[in-house]
Protein backbone atom coordinates (compact mmCIF):
# COMPACT_ATOMS: atom_id res chain seq x y z
CA UNK A 1 0.00 0.00 0.00
CA UNK A 2 1.05 3.63 -0.50
CA UNK A 3 1.29 6.04 2.43
CA UNK A 4 2.16 9.70 2.69
CA UNK A 5 5.08 10.47 5.00
CA UNK A 6 5.77 14.03 6.22
CA UNK A 7 9.30 15.24 7.06
CA UNK A 8 10.27 18.19 9.25
CA UNK A 9 13.32 20.24 10.22
CA UNK A 10 16.69 18.54 9.83
CA UNK A 11 14.98 15.34 8.61
CA UNK A 12 13.37 17.19 5.71
CA UNK A 13 16.75 18.77 5.00
CA UNK A 14 18.53 15.40 4.82
CA UNK A 15 15.80 13.79 2.74
CA UNK A 16 15.39 16.82 0.49
CA UNK A 17 11.58 17.04 0.58
CA UNK A 18 8.77 17.90 3.01
CA UNK A 19 6.86 14.74 2.17
CA UNK A 20 6.99 11.57 0.09
CA UNK A 21 4.62 8.85 -1.01
CA UNK A 22 6.16 5.61 0.23
CA UNK A 23 5.17 2.08 -0.80
CA UNK A 24 5.09 -0.22 2.22
CA UNK A 25 4.83 -3.96 1.99
CA UNK A 26 1.39 -4.86 3.32
CA UNK A 27 -1.45 -3.93 5.61
CA UNK A 28 0.43 -5.14 8.70
CA UNK A 29 3.44 -2.87 8.30
CA UNK A 30 4.68 -1.31 11.51
CA UNK A 31 6.41 1.99 12.20
CA UNK A 32 9.60 -0.01 12.73
CA UNK A 33 9.44 -1.44 9.20
CA UNK A 34 8.90 2.02 7.76
CA UNK A 35 11.93 3.32 9.66
CA UNK A 36 14.11 0.48 8.30
CA UNK A 37 12.89 1.21 4.79
CA UNK A 38 13.67 4.94 5.14
CA UNK A 39 17.09 4.24 6.65
CA UNK A 40 17.95 1.97 3.71
CA UNK A 41 16.97 4.78 1.34
CA UNK A 42 18.59 7.59 3.39
CA UNK A 43 21.55 6.14 5.36
CA UNK A 44 22.13 9.48 7.16
CA UNK A 45 18.90 8.84 9.10
CA UNK A 46 20.68 6.09 11.04
CA UNK A 47 22.70 8.70 12.95
CA UNK A 48 19.74 10.99 13.57
CA UNK A 49 17.36 11.14 16.48
CA UNK A 50 13.65 11.32 15.62
CA UNK A 51 10.16 10.34 16.72
CA UNK A 52 7.30 9.10 14.58
CA UNK A 53 3.77 10.50 14.75
CA UNK A 54 0.72 8.70 13.38
CA UNK A 55 -2.25 10.99 12.92
CA UNK A 56 -0.52 13.71 14.95
CA UNK A 57 0.31 11.59 17.99
CA UNK A 58 3.75 10.21 18.86
CA UNK A 59 3.69 6.39 18.64
CA UNK A 60 5.94 3.47 19.56
CA UNK A 61 7.89 1.60 16.88
CA UNK A 62 5.67 -1.49 17.04
CA UNK A 63 2.53 0.47 16.10
CA UNK A 64 0.79 -0.72 12.90
CA UNK A 65 0.34 1.77 10.07
CA UNK A 66 -3.10 1.97 8.45
CA UNK A 67 -3.77 3.02 4.87
CA UNK A 68 -5.17 6.45 5.71
CA UNK A 69 -2.77 7.27 8.52
CA UNK A 70 -0.87 10.56 8.40
CA UNK A 71 2.73 9.59 9.14
CA UNK A 72 5.33 12.17 10.22
CA UNK A 73 9.04 11.85 11.02
CA UNK A 74 9.92 14.41 13.70
CA UNK A 75 13.46 15.49 14.64
CA UNK A 76 14.19 16.82 18.16
CA UNK A 77 11.87 19.64 19.25
CA UNK A 78 13.14 23.18 19.64
CA UNK A 79 10.03 25.16 20.55
CA UNK A 80 10.26 28.20 22.83
Amino acid sequence: MKIKVLYFGMIAEVIGHDFEIIEISNKNSTVNELIKLLQAKFPKLEDMSFKVALNQSIVEENTKIGINDEVAILPPFAGG
Partner: protein, 148 residues
Protein backbone atom coordinates in the same frame (compact mmCIF):
# COMPACT_ATOMS: atom_id res chain seq x y z
CA UNK B 1 -24.05 17.69 18.95
CA UNK B 2 -20.89 15.82 17.98
CA UNK B 3 -19.36 19.05 16.79
CA UNK B 4 -15.60 18.94 16.64
CA UNK B 5 -13.82 21.38 18.92
CA UNK B 6 -12.25 24.30 17.09
CA UNK B 7 -8.53 24.28 17.83
CA UNK B 8 -6.89 27.67 18.16
CA UNK B 9 -3.92 28.61 15.98
CA UNK B 10 -1.04 29.42 18.31
CA UNK B 11 1.42 30.47 15.60
CA UNK B 12 2.33 34.04 14.78
CA UNK B 13 4.37 34.85 11.67
CA UNK B 14 7.70 36.35 12.77
CA UNK B 15 8.54 37.72 16.22
CA UNK B 16 6.03 38.30 19.02
CA UNK B 17 5.99 42.06 19.64
CA UNK B 18 5.93 43.86 22.99
CA UNK B 19 2.75 45.58 21.71
CA UNK B 20 1.04 42.18 21.33
CA UNK B 21 1.92 41.39 24.95
CA UNK B 22 0.61 44.77 26.14
CA UNK B 23 -2.65 44.15 24.23
CA UNK B 24 -3.07 40.74 25.85
CA UNK B 25 -2.49 42.20 29.31
CA UNK B 26 -4.94 45.05 28.64
CA UNK B 27 -7.63 42.57 27.56
CA UNK B 28 -7.49 40.97 31.00
CA UNK B 29 -8.26 44.14 32.92
CA UNK B 30 -12.00 43.57 32.59
CA UNK B 31 -11.60 40.25 34.43
CA UNK B 32 -11.70 41.59 37.97
CA UNK B 33 -11.54 38.15 39.59
CA UNK B 34 -7.88 37.89 38.48
CA UNK B 35 -5.30 38.77 41.13
CA UNK B 36 -2.11 37.45 39.54
CA UNK B 37 -0.63 36.98 36.08
CA UNK B 38 2.55 35.17 35.15
CA UNK B 39 4.11 35.68 31.73
CA UNK B 40 6.95 33.65 30.27
CA UNK B 41 8.76 35.03 27.23
CA UNK B 42 11.28 33.11 25.17
CA UNK B 43 13.86 35.37 23.46
CA UNK B 44 16.29 34.32 20.71
CA UNK B 45 19.87 34.42 21.99
CA UNK B 46 22.87 35.43 19.88
CA UNK B 47 24.69 32.28 20.98
CA UNK B 48 28.19 31.62 19.73
CA UNK B 49 28.42 28.14 18.20
CA UNK B 50 31.81 26.97 16.96
CA UNK B 51 32.93 30.60 16.69
CA UNK B 52 29.91 31.84 14.75
CA UNK B 53 27.16 34.09 16.14
CA UNK B 54 23.49 33.13 15.80
CA UNK B 55 21.74 36.03 14.06
CA UNK B 56 18.22 34.52 13.99
CA UNK B 57 16.22 31.34 14.39
CA UNK B 58 13.91 30.19 11.63
CA UNK B 59 11.04 28.30 13.24
CA UNK B 60 9.01 25.67 11.44
CA UNK B 61 6.46 23.26 12.86
CA UNK B 62 4.20 20.33 12.18
CA UNK B 63 1.51 22.95 12.60
CA UNK B 64 -1.65 20.84 12.83
CA UNK B 65 -0.09 18.53 15.40
CA UNK B 66 1.56 21.43 17.26
CA UNK B 67 -1.75 23.28 17.60
CA UNK B 68 -3.33 20.07 18.90
CA UNK B 69 -0.47 19.63 21.39
CA UNK B 70 -0.68 23.28 22.51
CA UNK B 71 -4.42 22.82 23.01
CA UNK B 72 -3.89 19.65 25.07
CA UNK B 73 -1.24 21.37 27.20
CA UNK B 74 -3.56 24.30 27.82
CA UNK B 75 -6.50 22.03 28.70
CA UNK B 76 -4.35 19.95 31.07
CA UNK B 77 -3.18 23.16 32.80
CA UNK B 78 -6.83 24.07 33.48
CA UNK B 79 -7.34 20.61 35.02
CA UNK B 80 -4.21 20.78 37.18
CA UNK B 81 -4.43 24.42 38.28
CA UNK B 82 -7.19 26.80 39.30
CA UNK B 83 -6.81 29.22 36.39
CA UNK B 84 -8.91 32.06 35.03
CA UNK B 85 -7.07 32.25 31.69
CA UNK B 86 -4.16 30.65 29.85
CA UNK B 87 -2.77 31.71 26.48
CA UNK B 88 0.10 30.48 24.32
CA UNK B 89 1.65 32.12 21.24
CA UNK B 90 4.64 30.79 19.30
CA UNK B 91 6.49 32.30 16.37
CA UNK B 92 6.98 30.67 13.01
CA UNK B 93 9.41 31.92 10.38
CA UNK B 94 12.38 34.15 11.14
CA UNK B 95 12.92 35.58 14.64
CA UNK B 96 16.10 37.64 15.05
CA UNK B 97 18.38 37.54 18.09
CA UNK B 98 16.81 39.69 20.82
CA UNK B 99 13.28 39.14 19.50
CA UNK B 100 10.59 37.06 21.20
CA UNK B 101 9.50 33.62 19.96
CA UNK B 102 7.27 32.31 22.79
CA UNK B 103 4.63 34.00 24.95
CA UNK B 104 2.92 32.01 27.71
CA UNK B 105 0.36 33.93 29.80
CA UNK B 106 -1.46 32.50 32.82
CA UNK B 107 -3.92 34.28 35.11
CA UNK B 108 -5.48 33.22 38.39
CA UNK B 109 -7.06 34.58 41.53
CA UNK B 110 -3.84 33.95 43.46
CA UNK B 111 -0.16 33.97 42.52
CA UNK B 112 0.73 30.34 43.29
CA UNK B 113 -1.54 28.95 40.58
CA UNK B 114 -0.42 31.49 37.98
CA UNK B 115 3.26 30.74 38.66
CA UNK B 116 2.85 26.94 38.73
CA UNK B 117 0.74 26.86 35.57
CA UNK B 118 3.02 29.15 33.56
CA UNK B 119 6.02 27.00 34.35
CA UNK B 120 4.12 23.77 33.66
CA UNK B 121 2.91 25.02 30.26
CA UNK B 122 6.39 26.25 29.28
CA UNK B 123 8.05 22.94 30.19
CA UNK B 124 5.35 20.98 28.36
CA UNK B 125 5.81 23.10 25.22
CA UNK B 126 9.58 22.56 25.24
CA UNK B 127 9.11 18.78 25.62
CA UNK B 128 6.05 18.04 23.49
CA UNK B 129 5.40 20.62 20.77
CA UNK B 130 6.67 19.59 17.31
CA UNK B 131 8.39 22.90 16.62
CA UNK B 132 11.79 23.02 14.92
CA UNK B 133 14.41 25.75 14.96
CA UNK B 134 17.16 26.46 12.47
CA UNK B 135 19.84 28.68 14.03
CA UNK B 136 21.09 30.97 11.26
CA UNK B 137 24.58 32.48 11.26
CA UNK B 138 25.83 35.67 9.63
CA UNK B 139 27.50 33.64 6.83
CA UNK B 140 24.14 31.97 5.97
CA UNK B 141 25.23 28.60 7.35
CA UNK B 142 23.02 27.03 10.01
CA UNK B 143 22.64 24.39 12.74
CA UNK B 144 19.46 22.81 14.08
CA UNK B 145 18.48 23.76 17.62
CA UNK B 146 17.59 21.01 20.12
CA UNK B 147 15.74 21.65 23.42
CA UNK B 148 17.22 20.44 26.70
Amino acid sequence: MNKEKKIKNVFIEGPITPAKIADSIAHHQVKTNIGAHDIFLGQVRADVIAGKIVKAIEYSAYEDMANKVFDEIRESAFVKYDLTCAHIYHSKGIVKAGELCLFVFTSSKHRTMAFDACRYITEEIKAKAPVFGKELFEDDSHVWKVNH
